[in-house]
Protein backbone atom coordinates (compact mmCIF):
# COMPACT_ATOMS: atom_id res chain seq x y z
CA UNK A 1 0.00 0.00 0.00
CA UNK A 2 1.38 3.35 -0.97
CA UNK A 3 0.95 6.37 1.20
CA UNK A 4 1.53 9.93 0.28
CA UNK A 5 0.12 13.40 0.25
CA UNK A 6 -1.38 12.84 -3.21
CA UNK A 7 -3.68 10.10 -1.91
CA UNK A 8 -4.80 12.15 1.05
CA UNK A 9 -5.56 15.15 -1.17
CA UNK A 10 -7.54 13.04 -3.63
CA UNK A 11 -9.47 11.46 -0.76
CA UNK A 12 -10.19 14.87 0.80
CA UNK A 13 -11.48 16.32 -2.50
CA UNK A 14 -13.83 13.39 -3.05
CA UNK A 15 -14.92 13.45 0.59
CA UNK A 16 -15.89 17.12 0.25
CA UNK A 17 -17.77 16.38 -2.98
CA UNK A 18 -19.69 13.58 -1.25
CA UNK A 19 -20.51 15.88 1.68
CA UNK A 20 -21.77 18.64 -0.65
CA UNK A 21 -23.79 16.11 -2.67
CA UNK A 22 -25.35 14.73 0.52
CA UNK A 23 -26.30 18.11 1.99
CA UNK A 24 -27.42 19.96 -1.15
CA UNK A 25 -29.05 17.14 -3.13
CA UNK A 26 -29.66 13.82 -1.37
CA UNK A 27 -30.88 15.20 1.98
CA UNK A 28 -33.54 17.29 0.27
CA UNK A 29 -34.98 14.58 -2.01
CA UNK A 30 -38.66 14.15 -1.14
CA UNK A 31 -38.37 10.37 -0.67
CA UNK A 32 -40.85 8.43 1.47
CA UNK A 33 -39.71 6.99 4.80
CA UNK A 34 -36.18 8.35 5.06
CA UNK A 35 -33.16 9.75 3.29
CA UNK A 36 -30.16 8.03 1.68
CA UNK A 37 -26.91 8.45 3.61
CA UNK A 38 -24.20 8.81 0.95
CA UNK A 39 -21.52 9.51 3.59
CA UNK A 40 -22.07 6.12 5.23
CA UNK A 41 -21.90 4.36 1.85
CA UNK A 42 -18.67 6.22 1.00
CA UNK A 43 -17.11 5.16 4.32
CA UNK A 44 -18.06 1.52 3.69
CA UNK A 45 -16.82 1.67 0.09
CA UNK A 46 -13.48 3.23 1.15
CA UNK A 47 -12.99 0.63 3.89
CA UNK A 48 -13.88 -2.22 1.49
CA UNK A 49 -11.28 -1.07 -1.05
CA UNK A 50 -8.55 0.16 1.30
CA UNK A 51 -8.87 -1.93 4.44
CA UNK A 52 -8.75 -0.88 8.09
CA UNK A 53 -6.35 2.12 7.85
CA UNK A 54 -8.37 3.74 5.04
CA UNK A 55 -11.65 2.87 6.77
CA UNK A 56 -10.51 4.48 10.00
CA UNK A 57 -9.12 7.61 8.30
CA UNK A 58 -12.04 8.22 5.94
CA UNK A 59 -14.67 7.35 8.56
CA UNK A 60 -13.26 9.70 11.16
CA UNK A 61 -12.66 12.61 8.73
CA UNK A 62 -16.04 12.47 6.97
CA UNK A 63 -17.85 12.00 10.29
CA UNK A 64 -16.07 14.96 11.85
CA UNK A 65 -16.75 17.19 8.84
CA UNK A 66 -20.47 16.29 8.93
CA UNK A 67 -20.48 16.89 12.71
CA UNK A 68 -19.03 20.37 12.36
CA UNK A 69 -21.71 21.28 9.82
CA UNK A 70 -24.51 20.16 12.16
CA UNK A 71 -25.91 21.49 15.40
CA UNK A 72 -25.26 18.39 17.50
CA UNK A 73 -21.96 18.04 19.41
CA UNK A 74 -18.89 17.31 17.30
CA UNK A 75 -17.62 13.74 17.51
CA UNK A 76 -20.95 11.90 17.35
CA UNK A 77 -20.88 11.00 13.65
CA UNK A 78 -17.06 10.79 13.72
CA UNK A 79 -17.36 8.08 16.38
CA UNK A 80 -20.06 6.22 14.46
CA UNK A 81 -18.33 6.34 11.06
CA UNK A 82 -14.96 5.50 12.65
CA UNK A 83 -16.43 2.28 14.05
CA UNK A 84 -18.18 1.48 10.74
CA UNK A 85 -14.91 2.09 8.84
CA UNK A 86 -12.87 -0.06 11.23
CA UNK A 87 -15.38 -2.93 11.23
CA UNK A 88 -15.81 -2.88 7.44
CA UNK A 89 -12.03 -2.66 6.91
CA UNK A 90 -11.61 -6.03 8.60
CA UNK A 91 -13.84 -7.69 5.99
CA UNK A 92 -11.61 -6.44 3.17
CA UNK A 93 -9.03 -9.17 3.72
CA UNK A 94 -11.41 -11.75 2.25
CA UNK A 95 -10.87 -10.13 -1.15
CA UNK A 96 -14.45 -10.53 -2.26
CA UNK A 97 -15.27 -7.58 -4.48
CA UNK A 98 -18.66 -8.30 -6.07
CA UNK A 99 -21.28 -5.54 -6.07
CA UNK A 100 -23.85 -7.80 -4.44
CA UNK A 101 -21.45 -8.51 -1.58
CA UNK A 102 -20.81 -4.81 -1.00
CA UNK A 103 -24.57 -4.14 -1.03
CA UNK A 104 -24.97 -6.67 1.79
CA UNK A 105 -22.15 -5.01 3.72
CA UNK A 106 -23.77 -1.58 3.20
CA UNK A 107 -27.11 -2.94 4.40
CA UNK A 108 -25.52 -4.35 7.56
CA UNK A 109 -23.61 -1.09 8.11
CA UNK A 110 -26.83 0.94 7.65
CA UNK A 111 -28.65 -1.13 10.26
CA UNK A 112 -25.74 -0.86 12.71
CA UNK A 113 -25.36 2.88 12.08
CA UNK A 114 -29.13 3.35 12.53
CA UNK A 115 -28.99 1.59 15.89
CA UNK A 116 -25.91 3.67 16.72
CA UNK A 117 -27.76 6.90 15.83
CA UNK A 118 -30.66 5.78 18.01
CA UNK A 119 -28.40 5.07 20.99
CA UNK A 120 -26.40 8.28 20.59
CA UNK A 121 -29.46 10.48 20.08
CA UNK A 122 -30.81 9.38 23.46
CA UNK A 123 -27.50 10.32 25.14
CA UNK A 124 -26.49 13.53 23.37
CA UNK A 125 -28.38 16.84 23.32
CA UNK A 126 -29.59 18.08 19.95
CA UNK A 127 -30.16 14.62 18.47
CA UNK A 128 -33.40 13.14 17.16
CA UNK A 129 -35.64 10.59 18.83
CA UNK A 130 -34.61 6.94 18.85
CA UNK A 131 -38.08 5.72 17.90
CA UNK A 132 -37.84 7.66 14.67
CA UNK A 133 -34.37 6.29 13.90
CA UNK A 134 -35.62 2.72 14.23
CA UNK A 135 -38.74 3.47 12.16
CA UNK A 136 -36.61 4.94 9.36
CA UNK A 137 -34.25 1.94 9.22
CA UNK A 138 -35.87 -0.21 6.47
CA UNK A 139 -36.03 2.63 3.94
CA UNK A 140 -32.52 3.83 4.83
CA UNK A 141 -31.21 0.30 4.16
CA UNK A 142 -33.01 0.23 0.81
CA UNK A 143 -31.77 3.67 -0.33
CA UNK A 144 -28.19 3.10 0.82
CA UNK A 145 -28.05 -0.30 -0.91
CA UNK A 146 -29.29 1.38 -4.08
CA UNK A 147 -26.43 3.90 -3.91
CA UNK A 148 -23.85 1.14 -3.46
CA UNK A 149 -23.49 -0.08 -7.09
CA UNK A 150 -22.54 3.49 -8.06
CA UNK A 151 -20.30 4.39 -5.14
CA UNK A 152 -18.21 1.24 -4.64
CA UNK A 153 -16.82 0.88 -8.20
CA UNK A 154 -16.18 4.65 -8.30
CA UNK A 155 -14.28 4.53 -5.00
CA UNK A 156 -12.24 1.56 -6.22
CA UNK A 157 -11.38 3.43 -9.43
CA UNK A 158 -10.34 6.55 -7.50
CA UNK A 159 -8.25 4.43 -5.16
CA UNK A 160 -6.50 2.77 -8.11
CA UNK A 161 -5.92 6.07 -9.91
CA UNK A 162 -4.61 7.86 -6.82
CA UNK A 163 -2.30 4.93 -6.09
CA UNK A 164 -0.71 5.16 -9.54
CA UNK A 165 -0.37 8.96 -9.23
CA UNK A 166 1.33 8.51 -5.89
CA UNK A 167 3.73 6.01 -7.47
CA UNK A 168 4.61 8.40 -10.27
CA UNK A 169 5.21 11.25 -7.84
CA UNK A 170 7.42 9.14 -5.60
Amino acid sequence: MTRGPARVIVAAVFGLLALALQTTVLSRLPLPGGRPDLLLVVVVAAALTGGVPVGIGVGFSIGLAADLLSSHPAGVLALLFLLVGAATGHIESERERSVFWSMIVVAIASVSAGIGYALLSSVVSGGGSWQQEIAGLPMAVLYNSMLTPFVVPLTAAIERASRSTAMVRL
Partner: protein, 284 residues
Amino acid sequence: MRRSRRRQRLALTLLLLACVSMVIVDDGGRLAGLHRAASSAFGPVERSFFAVSQPVGRFLRGLPDIEGDRRRITALTTENSTLRSQLRSVALSSAELAQLHAIGASADAAGYSVHAASVVDYGPSPGFEWTVRINVGSGDGVRTGMTVLAPEGLVGRVSQVASDTSLVVLAVDPGSSVGIRDRRSGELALATGDGLEPMRYVPLDPHSPPRAGDVVVTGPYGRSTYTAGVPVGTVSAVTSVGATSTPRVSVRPYVDFSRLDIVAVVLDRAPEPAKAGAAATVTR
Protein backbone atom coordinates in the same frame (compact mmCIF):
# COMPACT_ATOMS: atom_id res chain seq x y z
CA MET B 1 2.08 -7.61 9.61
CA ARG B 2 1.67 -7.93 13.37
CA ARG B 3 3.27 -4.51 13.91
CA SER B 4 0.89 -2.80 11.50
CA ARG B 5 -2.03 -4.51 13.27
CA ARG B 6 -0.86 -3.10 16.55
CA ARG B 7 -0.45 0.37 15.04
CA GLN B 8 -3.95 0.20 13.58
CA ARG B 9 -5.38 -0.75 16.94
CA LEU B 10 -3.51 2.12 18.59
CA ALA B 11 -4.79 4.61 15.97
CA LEU B 12 -8.37 3.33 16.40
CA THR B 13 -8.14 3.67 20.20
CA LEU B 14 -6.72 7.21 20.00
CA LEU B 15 -9.37 8.35 17.52
CA LEU B 16 -12.14 6.80 19.65
CA LEU B 17 -10.84 8.70 22.68
CA ALA B 18 -10.68 11.88 20.58
CA CYS B 19 -14.34 11.42 19.50
CA VAL B 20 -15.60 10.78 23.01
CA SER B 21 -13.73 13.75 24.48
CA MET B 22 -14.99 15.97 21.65
CA VAL B 23 -18.59 14.95 22.35
CA ILE B 24 -18.12 15.70 26.05
CA VAL B 25 -16.45 19.07 25.43
CA ASP B 26 -18.92 20.15 22.73
CA ASP B 27 -22.09 18.98 24.48
CA GLY B 28 -22.35 22.36 26.20
CA GLY B 29 -21.68 24.18 22.91
CA ARG B 30 -18.04 24.94 23.75
CA LEU B 31 -16.82 24.26 20.21
CA ALA B 32 -19.25 26.73 18.58
CA GLY B 33 -16.30 28.60 17.04
CA LEU B 34 -15.13 25.44 15.31
CA HIS B 35 -18.64 24.77 13.95
CA ARG B 36 -18.79 28.33 12.66
CA ALA B 37 -15.37 28.10 10.99
CA ALA B 38 -16.33 24.83 9.28
CA SER B 39 -19.60 26.33 8.02
CA SER B 40 -17.80 29.38 6.64
CA ALA B 41 -15.17 27.25 4.93
CA PHE B 42 -17.73 24.88 3.45
CA GLY B 43 -19.99 27.73 2.33
CA PRO B 44 -18.48 28.34 -1.14
CA VAL B 45 -18.46 24.62 -2.03
CA GLU B 46 -22.04 24.29 -0.91
CA ARG B 47 -23.20 27.38 -2.73
CA SER B 48 -21.68 26.34 -6.05
CA PHE B 49 -23.37 22.94 -5.67
CA PHE B 50 -26.62 24.63 -4.78
CA ALA B 51 -26.41 26.89 -7.85
CA VAL B 52 -26.37 23.77 -10.03
CA SER B 53 -28.78 21.61 -8.07
CA GLN B 54 -31.43 24.20 -7.20
CA PRO B 55 -33.09 24.57 -10.64
CA VAL B 56 -32.97 20.81 -11.21
CA GLY B 57 -34.30 20.10 -7.73
CA ARG B 58 -37.12 22.62 -8.02
CA PHE B 59 -38.13 21.15 -11.36
CA LEU B 60 -38.08 17.55 -10.05
CA ARG B 61 -39.94 18.45 -6.87
CA GLY B 62 -42.52 20.30 -8.94
CA LEU B 63 -43.17 17.42 -11.36
CA PRO B 64 -45.60 15.37 -9.23
CA ASP B 65 -47.61 18.54 -8.60
CA ILE B 66 -48.00 19.88 -12.12
CA GLU B 67 -51.70 19.05 -12.26
CA GLY B 68 -52.26 20.40 -8.75
CA ASP B 69 -50.29 23.52 -9.62
CA ARG B 70 -52.51 24.21 -12.60
CA ARG B 71 -55.60 23.91 -10.41
CA ARG B 72 -53.97 26.12 -7.79
CA ILE B 73 -53.19 28.77 -10.41
CA THR B 74 -56.84 28.85 -11.45
CA ALA B 75 -57.95 29.06 -7.82
CA LEU B 76 -55.42 31.79 -7.07
CA THR B 77 -56.43 33.82 -10.12
CA THR B 78 -60.05 33.72 -8.98
CA GLU B 79 -59.07 34.59 -5.43
CA ASN B 80 -56.85 37.37 -6.70
CA SER B 81 -59.64 39.08 -8.59
CA THR B 82 -61.99 38.74 -5.61
CA LEU B 83 -59.36 40.22 -3.33
CA ARG B 84 -58.69 43.03 -5.75
CA SER B 85 -62.34 44.03 -5.76
CA GLN B 86 -62.37 43.83 -1.93
CA LEU B 87 -59.25 45.97 -1.84
CA ARG B 88 -61.03 48.66 -3.84
CA SER B 89 -63.77 48.83 -1.24
CA VAL B 90 -61.23 48.81 1.59
CA ALA B 91 -59.28 51.68 0.02
CA LEU B 92 -62.29 53.93 0.65
CA SER B 93 -61.92 53.46 4.37
CA SER B 94 -58.17 53.96 4.38
CA ALA B 95 -58.57 56.95 6.67
CA GLU B 96 -59.99 54.65 9.32
CA LEU B 97 -57.13 52.28 8.67
CA ALA B 98 -54.58 55.02 9.29
CA GLN B 99 -56.23 55.78 12.60
CA LEU B 100 -56.06 52.15 13.59
CA HIS B 101 -52.37 52.17 12.79
CA ALA B 102 -51.90 55.23 14.95
CA ILE B 103 -53.51 53.49 17.89
CA GLY B 104 -51.08 50.69 17.34
CA ALA B 105 -53.66 47.98 17.48
CA SER B 106 -51.87 46.02 14.81
CA ALA B 107 -48.34 46.90 15.87
CA ASP B 108 -47.77 43.37 17.05
CA ALA B 109 -48.50 41.94 13.64
CA ALA B 110 -46.83 44.62 11.53
CA GLY B 111 -43.80 45.38 13.68
CA TYR B 112 -41.47 42.73 12.34
CA SER B 113 -38.82 43.33 9.79
CA VAL B 114 -37.80 40.20 7.96
CA HIS B 115 -34.97 39.10 5.69
CA ALA B 116 -35.80 36.66 2.88
CA ALA B 117 -33.56 33.63 2.42
CA SER B 118 -33.28 30.43 0.40
CA VAL B 119 -32.84 26.99 1.93
CA VAL B 120 -29.43 25.89 0.67
CA ASP B 121 -29.39 22.39 2.10
CA TYR B 122 -30.78 20.01 4.64
CA GLY B 123 -28.63 18.67 7.50
CA PRO B 124 -25.97 16.10 6.57
CA SER B 125 -27.26 13.40 8.94
CA PRO B 126 -30.65 12.38 7.55
CA GLY B 127 -33.23 11.72 10.24
CA PHE B 128 -30.79 12.29 13.08
CA GLU B 129 -31.84 15.90 13.40
CA TRP B 130 -34.03 18.28 11.44
CA THR B 131 -31.97 21.27 10.36
CA VAL B 132 -31.66 23.33 7.20
CA ARG B 133 -28.99 25.79 6.14
CA ILE B 134 -30.10 29.15 4.70
CA ASN B 135 -28.09 31.55 2.56
CA VAL B 136 -28.06 34.53 4.95
CA GLY B 137 -25.72 35.00 7.89
CA SER B 138 -24.29 37.46 10.38
CA GLY B 139 -23.50 39.85 7.51
CA ASP B 140 -27.23 40.19 6.87
CA GLY B 141 -28.02 40.86 10.53
CA VAL B 142 -29.03 37.30 11.41
CA ARG B 143 -28.36 36.30 15.02
CA THR B 144 -28.75 33.07 16.99
CA GLY B 145 -32.28 32.53 18.30
CA MET B 146 -34.12 34.44 15.59
CA THR B 147 -37.43 33.03 14.34
CA VAL B 148 -37.64 31.73 10.76
CA LEU B 149 -40.92 31.80 8.79
CA ALA B 150 -42.24 30.46 5.51
CA PRO B 151 -45.23 32.01 3.74
CA GLU B 152 -47.44 29.36 5.40
CA GLY B 153 -46.16 29.76 8.97
CA LEU B 154 -43.43 28.86 11.45
CA VAL B 155 -40.31 27.08 10.16
CA GLY B 156 -37.92 27.13 13.12
CA ARG B 157 -35.20 28.96 14.94
CA VAL B 158 -31.64 30.01 13.99
CA SER B 159 -29.20 27.89 16.00
CA GLN B 160 -25.83 28.81 14.46
CA VAL B 161 -24.74 31.80 12.40
CA ALA B 162 -21.74 31.87 10.06
CA SER B 163 -20.68 34.87 7.98
CA ASP B 164 -23.02 34.17 5.08
CA THR B 165 -25.03 31.06 6.03
CA SER B 166 -27.02 30.06 9.11
CA LEU B 167 -28.25 26.77 10.51
CA VAL B 168 -31.96 26.59 11.34
CA VAL B 169 -33.37 23.95 13.70
CA LEU B 170 -36.83 23.14 12.36
CA ALA B 171 -39.88 23.26 14.62
CA VAL B 172 -40.48 19.56 13.82
CA ASP B 173 -37.06 18.53 15.17
CA PRO B 174 -37.81 15.92 17.85
CA GLY B 175 -35.65 17.88 20.28
CA SER B 176 -37.52 21.13 19.65
CA SER B 177 -40.48 22.53 21.56
CA VAL B 178 -42.49 25.58 20.60
CA GLY B 179 -44.57 27.57 23.08
CA ILE B 180 -47.97 27.98 21.41
CA ARG B 181 -51.37 29.57 22.00
CA ASP B 182 -54.70 28.13 20.89
CA ARG B 183 -56.27 31.02 19.00
CA ARG B 184 -59.87 29.94 19.81
CA SER B 185 -59.53 29.40 23.56
CA GLY B 186 -56.38 31.41 24.27
CA GLU B 187 -54.94 28.40 26.14
CA LEU B 188 -51.15 28.13 26.26
CA ALA B 189 -49.43 24.88 25.37
CA LEU B 190 -46.21 23.34 24.14
CA ALA B 191 -45.84 21.76 20.68
CA THR B 192 -43.07 19.19 20.42
CA GLY B 193 -41.65 18.11 17.07
CA ASP B 194 -41.83 14.52 15.88
CA GLY B 195 -40.18 14.63 12.46
CA LEU B 196 -42.63 14.21 9.61
CA GLU B 197 -45.32 13.01 12.03
CA PRO B 198 -47.73 15.68 13.35
CA MET B 199 -46.39 17.69 16.30
CA ARG B 200 -47.46 16.67 19.83
CA TYR B 201 -49.51 19.22 21.77
CA VAL B 202 -49.02 19.36 25.53
CA PRO B 203 -51.51 21.78 27.17
CA LEU B 204 -50.55 23.79 30.25
CA ASP B 205 -53.98 23.15 31.72
CA PRO B 206 -54.91 19.50 31.10
CA HIS B 207 -58.58 20.17 31.87
CA SER B 208 -59.27 22.34 28.84
CA PRO B 209 -58.24 20.26 25.82
CA PRO B 210 -58.32 21.86 22.36
CA ARG B 211 -60.80 20.89 19.64
CA ALA B 212 -59.83 19.47 16.28
CA GLY B 213 -59.51 22.31 13.77
CA ASP B 214 -58.23 24.86 16.31
CA VAL B 215 -55.54 27.16 14.93
CA VAL B 216 -52.40 27.41 17.05
CA VAL B 217 -49.88 30.28 16.88
CA THR B 218 -46.58 30.84 18.70
CA GLY B 219 -47.12 32.24 22.16
CA PRO B 220 -45.21 32.99 25.31
CA TYR B 221 -44.26 29.86 27.20
CA GLY B 222 -41.36 29.76 29.61
CA ARG B 223 -38.21 30.65 27.78
CA SER B 224 -39.82 30.37 24.34
CA THR B 225 -37.54 32.19 21.96
CA TYR B 226 -40.01 32.38 19.09
CA THR B 227 -41.61 35.60 17.90
CA ALA B 228 -45.20 35.55 19.20
CA GLY B 229 -48.26 35.29 16.93
CA VAL B 230 -46.75 33.26 14.07
CA PRO B 231 -49.16 30.58 12.74
CA VAL B 232 -47.89 27.07 13.55
CA GLY B 233 -50.63 24.69 12.41
CA THR B 234 -54.06 23.27 13.13
CA VAL B 235 -55.07 20.69 15.72
CA SER B 236 -55.56 17.61 13.57
CA ALA B 237 -56.61 14.98 16.08
CA VAL B 238 -57.69 14.77 19.70
CA THR B 239 -57.65 11.18 20.95
CA SER B 240 -58.80 10.37 24.47
CA VAL B 241 -56.73 7.54 25.88
CA GLY B 242 -58.80 6.89 28.97
CA ALA B 243 -61.57 8.57 30.93
CA THR B 244 -59.20 10.12 33.46
CA SER B 245 -55.96 10.71 31.57
CA THR B 246 -55.31 13.73 29.35
CA PRO B 247 -56.09 13.23 25.65
CA ARG B 248 -53.35 12.90 23.06
CA VAL B 249 -53.44 15.91 20.77
CA SER B 250 -51.56 16.29 17.49
CA VAL B 251 -50.93 19.48 15.54
CA ARG B 252 -50.46 19.40 11.78
CA PRO B 253 -48.00 22.20 10.84
CA TYR B 254 -48.92 24.54 8.00
CA VAL B 255 -45.42 24.34 6.56
CA ASP B 256 -44.43 21.30 4.49
CA PHE B 257 -41.04 20.67 6.07
CA SER B 258 -39.91 18.23 3.39
CA ARG B 259 -40.10 20.91 0.69
CA LEU B 260 -38.77 24.10 2.24
CA ASP B 261 -37.51 26.60 -0.30
CA ILE B 262 -37.99 30.33 0.34
CA VAL B 263 -38.09 31.42 4.01
CA ALA B 264 -37.72 34.66 5.98
CA VAL B 265 -35.81 35.45 9.18
CA VAL B 266 -37.49 37.82 11.66
CA LEU B 267 -34.72 40.34 12.32
CA ASP B 268 -35.69 42.71 15.12
CA ARG B 269 -37.25 41.26 18.28
CA ALA B 270 -34.44 39.60 20.13
CA PRO B 271 -36.03 37.12 22.54
CA GLU B 272 -37.00 39.00 25.69
CA PRO B 273 -39.28 36.87 27.86
CA ALA B 274 -40.08 39.84 30.12
CA LYS B 275 -41.58 41.70 27.19
CA ALA B 276 -43.91 38.92 26.13
CA GLY B 277 -46.82 39.99 28.36
CA ALA B 278 -49.82 42.07 27.34
CA ALA B 279 -48.55 45.04 29.34
CA ALA B 280 -45.64 45.52 26.96
CA THR B 281 -48.02 45.76 24.01
CA VAL B 282 -49.95 48.56 25.70
CA THR B 283 -46.95 50.65 26.69
CA ARG B 284 -45.62 50.53 23.19
